[in-house]
Symmetry: C3
Subunit: 314 residues, 3 copies
Amino acid sequence: MKFIKPVPASWINEKIEGEIIGLQNAEATGINEIHKVENGDITFVDHPKYYDKVLNSEASFIIINKSVEAPEGKTLFFVENPFEAYCKIVEHFRPFVVQTEMISSDLKKGNNTFIYPNVFIGKNVSIGDNCIIYPNVSIMDHTIIGNNVIIHPGVVIGSNSFYYNTKKDREVWYKKMPDCGRVIIEDNVEIGANCTIDRGVSAETVIGKGTKMDNLIHVGHDTVIGKNCLFAAQTGIAGVVNIGDGVTVWGQCGISKTLSIGNNATLLAMTGVNSDLQGGKIYWGVPAEEASNKKRELVWIKRIPQLWEKIMNK
Amino acid sequence: MKFIKPVPASWINEKIEGEIIGLQNAEATGINEIHKVENGDITFVDHPKYYDKVLNSEASFIIINKSVEAPEGKTLFFVENPFEAYCKIVEHFRPFVVQTEMISSDLKKGNNTFIYPNVFIGKNVSIGDNCIIYPNVSIMDHTIIGNNVIIHPGVVIGSNSFYYNTKKDREVWYKKMPDCGRVIIEDNVEIGANCTIDRGVSAETVIGKGTKMDNLIHVGHDTVIGKNCLFAAQTGIAGVVNIGDGVTVWGQCGISKTLSIGNNATLLAMTGVNSDLQGGKIYWGVPAEEASNKKRELVWIKRIPQLWEKIMNK
Amino acid sequence: MKFIKPVPASWINEKIEGEIIGLQNAEATGINEIHKVENGDITFVDHPKYYDKVLNSEASFIIINKSVEAPEGKTLFFVENPFEAYCKIVEHFRPFVVQTEMISSDLKKGNNTFIYPNVFIGKNVSIGDNCIIYPNVSIMDHTIIGNNVIIHPGVVIGSNSFYYNTKKDREVWYKKMPDCGRVIIEDNVEIGANCTIDRGVSAETVIGKGTKMDNLIHVGHDTVIGKNCLFAAQTGIAGVVNIGDGVTVWGQCGISKTLSIGNNATLLAMTGVNSDLQGGKIYWGVPAEEASNKKRELVWIKRIPQLWEKIMNK
């Protein structure tokens, strides 16, 4: 999330009752969790395992629970509980506000766009021209929808990320990360019935221009999908994934978090992706391999009895 | 889709601004895409790869972008863009009409059928006797529901097919095929929460009498499912599939498009079907094989280290 | 289901028009199907295959279609159709009652709990303090929700179990088991968009304190999930499963019915569980094995061509 206007370090520090180390007078331009952090952003770290990663990240402002020297050009905020301090800032800019209207009165709606009965639309939503939003759809706060977009019944856009601060020595192991990100649905996209698309935890979940999704697909927070992709039913894409343009994903595939898939890759049905994949190739299997290799492998497996016969019975 | 009354070739030709080749005075009785085309139907072909298939199909009227001789008894319409011509006819008979009522006033509803609050029902829908339609269900246009049917919360019936005209040399690769088909849910069917059942792109998606579906199941366009079948949760069935009677499909199976599965077949959980399956057998695995073979294969895989030991270390 | 006050055997027998064998004057304290039956409960058996199991179960009252001697301390009701007799009792205590209100007037709602527009809430529901119920959620009859619970859009809680009385020599093979169970969602639970959680067929479906679920997850009837568990998107859990505390289940896993998974087990993505799993270990694959074994197995499979080369070409 970028702030509407820059926020002084002193204001942040007062808010979270910390101690400033390093640059005193800088101004933050946004806030992001570590996967999406950019120059000018505030972020946080609360586990020694990640200190180095975060101190060396693009973040300009780091909320931390160890009093270390600030890297050059950065501002640290030393606090006891960095996660709670981060939440305090997010909740300041994105407070939970009750909505009793079915469609928020601040909706920006283009021409020739039709919204069926029984659709819920949250705050800070815009929908372009020539769109159809079918019944029983839920479009939550901070969603941007382009032109010529079709959203089928039962779709949920902008639900919370599945992202928790985990400490197994607390009674409550998983504490919810408050979201300050958005969903962006570009022009000519179609989203099938009962799909769920989570909003960015701190950045943006994007469905690229001309991409088409079948039913019951899940897209995690901060995932960015390119243009002219095709996703068949029941595929699931975890958070912070990058998918290129022209990618085809057949039914019931799964893609793990933070991975990248290159342009024009194809995943055959039921493929499980647990590493980055190059573009222009066809993949299959769990874990995903080039489909031709995987198919050969099935042939090899069928030959084991022959080997056994030859070796064990001679 | 069958027309209410036959449509003369001359009317069609005027509508799509083409050139008639072959039979001039025939009358079309319906329109269908190639997978479901029948005698008397109009269909289209726009790629040389499929000319032969379509010219030799049951179609009586073919919209085509090549000036070829008409096969005996057929009428061709020669146009520059057959896909757009096909769409023009479909949209004439099935125009998109805005609906602002929660339940269409033309609903035909039987006796002792109860519809919970918050259900959307489109145009041209009929629901038989003794049915329960639970809350937050969306029943879209052109759906026929029999007697004693239970539709659980969040179900979507009659959403659009996932079917596109694809040309990768256009800016928009995937152009939407307009639907003119229906969904038919026969007597005694039960559909679990948040299932999605797409309407036929040009024919009918059918759930046969007495078939029961668990939650979060996807059924693609023009798929026909027989009687007394059982589908456990999260199974996905692509478009134009034929499933016989008495078929049992356990959880999270996937069935690829245009396949057939015989009567009384059983698919164990997480099976992926990529070829036709005979009835009366038990299948498992990805791709599906007879379960007994597949289970033996797992035993063979466990024996590879023994083979290795014997061969490599001798 | 436990009765509010005990029910005499004579009342039951009159209701189902049977013949009492064994204890005549006992009083039943509840009713349950065989998987969940407890001392004091009524249950039924209609197939010779299960007579012994049910006669030796904890059930105190057994509806049966064979005139056998009653085990000590038990009451039998001899009837022609035990399934229909069981249904008659369930339907007496849990009749289907039409609800036309969007939110039942008997809802017990705690402080600081916000319910978005377009939520359906059935009868006999209670929701604790500090909860958020997002739009287009369906909470069906007999659901208990604790404090600090978040239910995302499109979720269905308390839909019917997928549980049928099966006889393949009838025209209707599958007859619906009427539900008399509940759903209990404990404190600090979060349920992701479009999840479905079925109510107990006769006991309780439970989501334990602090457990978090991502989107599009299915939980079957009478399944009991422990505290501080994490379930990633699109996982499916069948009925009557027991999952311990601190269990982590990654995306698109499937867990078959009536199984148990021990505390602090981890299932990697796309794992299929078909047997009980011990706690404290990491599992992967279909069927689930310890992940380290399964990963080694993949390495072994890659070595088959080497074996072949060595054996067949020598």
